[in-house]
Amino acid sequence: MAEGNVQGPSEVPDELKDTVTLTTLEKMIEAMGDLLSPVVSPIANAARSNSVWPLTFGTSCCAIEMMSVGMSKFDISRFGSEVFRATPRQADMIITAGTITRKMAPALITLYEQLPEPKYVIAMGACTVTGGMFNDSYSVVQGVDRIIPVDIYLPGCPPRPEGILDALLKLQQKIRTESYAERKKKKYRQNAVRYVDYDTGRPLEDLVDEARYETALALDPLKSLQESK
């Protein structure tokens, strides 16, 4: 994510051209800029907030509670989250239900990046908030916010289905109050916070650093040794 790459709010960054499409309505909103945004945003937001469709993403125990919330007793479709979609292209948010491990992290990042904008994340369960019960396990990522941006944190191990409904309502509130123009100004939040390598389970940036250091060492052993001192 190049920091110096400042873009106007109405432009889609080049590298995202294929994933982000602006509808005519959105283009109009943008053209009118801040002027019309206070009028149109609430309408668009109201529509958007009442049809947040989640992705079926569940890795472990919390997923069972997520399943219960879709079933007869709690029935999440009363709140507009009609169906759980199996593909990220059709979903608006991820409920990260269950522990994310180093091996699973790359898959979650891919899914997150495949969601079309605007996209939201509810970190469900202690495991995805901080690592939870398995906080100090060698193979667990200590909170999904280390790999993707999170909107709502929902603690509990597992949270009750009512908790999930509450988180959903909070998310709806957030969507309703946010200004679309503002969201654009903050850049498209397309990217993950950090990438993870599937084969080693380590952050990509560490591997790159290591590789750089090794090349430098190979090219000029003395100098890099001095630098490292």
Partner: protein, 178 residues
């Protein structure tokens, strides 16, 4: 309830047990270890493991037909590979241990134990798991690759001297949670 036999202090067992005797009759030497909670436990040399298993599984009087689990243990001065065997037809149990002394392991290499997976399919994944977590190399295994951790993981987590990786994904000092 009297279903749990009281654990006695491990006393020296007298003579070989049922399975030990059976193996002795067929010319395989075993050492009897203290029973673990009433189950006969024997130690066997790695070289005889496969032959012994074949006998125990094939004979009609013992017929240990379920390989329940293979566990690896990093004991004080040995690496143990522990096999839990059950008999479905004879309602019998046996624990076999193969021990590799830590002093025998070449520096920088893993302890070696023969693999059972060619002859007993259940052993396949159990051995891969033990290789992954405890770091015992089962020679003769058709596909000895890490099964639970990522493929290029460093170290074997259930070793006593395992040092946890600290990076941006997992940076709590181990044990800080307690």
């Amino acid at each position: 309830m009297s279903e749990t036999p009281a654990a006695k202090p491990p006393e020296e067992p007298k003579g070989p047990g049922l399975c030990g005797q059976f193996l002795k009759d067929h010319g395989i030497a075993t050492t009897r270890l203290p029973d673990s909670c009433g189950v006969e436990t024997i130690e066997i040399d790695g070289a005889h493991l496969e032959a012994a298993m074949k006998l125990l599984r094939g004979s009609s009087e013992i017929k240990l037909d379920y390989l329940v689990a293979v566990s690896g243990v990093d004991s004080a001065d040995t690496f143990d590979s522990v096999y839990q065997l059950w008999s479905y037809s004879n309602n019998n149990e046996l624990i076999i241990k193969v021990r590799v002394k830590k002093t025998d392991v070449v520096e920088g290499q893993l302890p070696l134990v023969p693999s059972l997976s060619r002859f007993w399919s259940a052993a396949n994944w159990h051995e891969r798991e033990t290789y992954d977590l405890v770091g015992i190399r089962y020679y003769g295994h058709p596909y000895l690759r890490r099964i639970l951790n990522v493929w290029d993981w460093d170290g074997h987590p259930l070793r006593r001297d395992y040092k946890q990786l600290v990076d941006a994904l997992n940076d709590k000092a181990p044990g800080s949670f307690r």
